[in-house]
Amino acid sequence: MSNDVAVLGVGMHPWGKWGRSFVEYGVIAAQAALADAGVEWNDVEFIVGGETVRNGYGGYVAGSTFARALGWNGSRVATCYAACASGSAAIEAARTRILAGLCDVALVVGADTTPKGFLAPNIGERWDDPDWLRFRLVGATNPTYFGLYARRRMDLYGSTTADFAAVKVKNALHGLHNDNARYRKQVTLEEVEASAVVADPLRLLDICATSDGAAAVVLTSMRFARQRALDPVRIRAVSTVTPRFPNTALDMPDIATDSAVAVSPPAMSFRASIAHAAYEEAGIGPEELSLAEVYDLSTALELDWYEDIGLCEAGGAEQLLRDGATSMGGKVPVNPSGGLACFGEAVPAQAIAQVCEVTWQLRGAAGPRQVEGARVGITVNQGLFGHGSAVLLSK
């Protein structure tokens, strides 16, 4: 029996710094997705919101906030929080309800309004919160972790800061004509290397910004899509796995890793296990990928993802990049949307935006950034507290 659901509609509110309510962005994205699907809001049986933790109670109950703004329609409602993977957790909730046969039409919405500068922990003294303690005791921001991963790549695999800069140059070029991207400007190697160091070896232009934005998808059962004689893009698998003990890579926001003294580390790192679970669930391997949308919180992290989604062995990412394999026109273009480099992160919307991009690509509707003959695409991300996700889609 097929475990596919149809992505009938996708929609976004452009990323930027608009200074308006996340609800407005979310509703605009939702209406765009509904229009794209040809589905009325009143026909939606289940709405799932990606929670935003920076917008008060309305953000904690994002699902019902969007439902109310669209007009109460009596649908089932849920809200998901899974840090950067919130959007895919929301997609997974909708998908599993559809696959269980409990509904045919679901709407998934994520939207955020984000503060300026570093993402800081919530205020107040919280001596039992690792996210608070890492700032207090170590001064470790998110870029600290990106810097650690980047430096480790350099020392282990011989990556250079020029490789990292080349990722930014590539993604800036990809996002140049993406109307939903916040930054649509060509960037040169020299500009990256002239930007201020934030967390050695990473510079300002190596690290993604935070943005306002929203994305939405309409998911339906395959039966519903076929009744309308549609041949939609399908979600083949969703992975939202936790790490396996002992997790020996230092993940945000932890101050220490698990100890491997009593139990040997798993064969696969947490990041690699995220995509692997999606491949296993779909019975599709990385060799079948036409493109990937990966979570480039930093340029160096994009290189880590090449290995973690199986494009190459550990240490092989720089060569793939240098060969142009991950650029538009290459074997597997990575971040044809421009990635976080061009968007900036809007936490609960970002994973949904990745799915929007892959859907447009698989429809052949991505315009000037279209990947030729795209048939299979994957999205991956990793967030705080052992959250990560991958969504595998095909025509």
Binding site: F135, V138, L148, A199, A256
Partner: protein
């Protein structure tokens, strides 16, 4: 100085001549946990909730390092005004087979370290409050590693 010296967080490390991080060792499976705040063993195949307190190795090797060129937001406590960049290292403790994050001792930058460099644990002041100096652990390159 008549100031009393206290750890910036209780129970995570000892102070004195040979300061050390303090971990929990599961009495059933031997798993070590740091920070020592576990109620339950972190090993999914072990349901123990009994731990003994163990000092962790005072030396280790660098898993990776970086620095902070911009002042982190609160609750970070700046120790210099104006802000000066500081280095941060993730350090692998061989015996315990875990990695612990910490600032690098004052005076050293990421250029003084690379993956595999040896470091040792030292204490440095974090803040002074009510006549008490609160200290925090940092990683200091050991002589053979800091030759650059």
């Amino acid at each position: 100085m008549s100031q009393q010296i206290m750890p910036a967080i209780e129970g995570w490390f000892t102070i004195g001549e040979e300061p050390a991080l303090v971990g929990q060792r599961c009495t059933k499976c031997g798993t070590i946990v740091f920070p020592p705040v576990a109620t339950f063993c972190t090993n999914p195949s072990c349901s123990s909730r009994e731990f003994s307190s163990v000092p962790l190795s005072r030396t280790g090797t660098v898993w990776s390092c970086t620095d902070a060129h911009y002042q982190p937001p609160p609750p970070f406590i700046p120790t210099t005004d104006p802000f000066e960049p500081f280095a941060i290292a993730a350090v692998e403790l061989e015996a315990e087979r875990l990695v612990v994050l910490g600032q690098v001792a004052t005076g050293f930058g990421p250029g003084d370290l690379k993956v595999g460099s040896s470091v040792e644990l030292v204490l440095e002041p974090l803040e002074v409050r009510d006549d008490t100096q609160y200290v925090v652990w940092k990683w200091r390159p050991t002589s053979e590693a800091s030759g650059s």
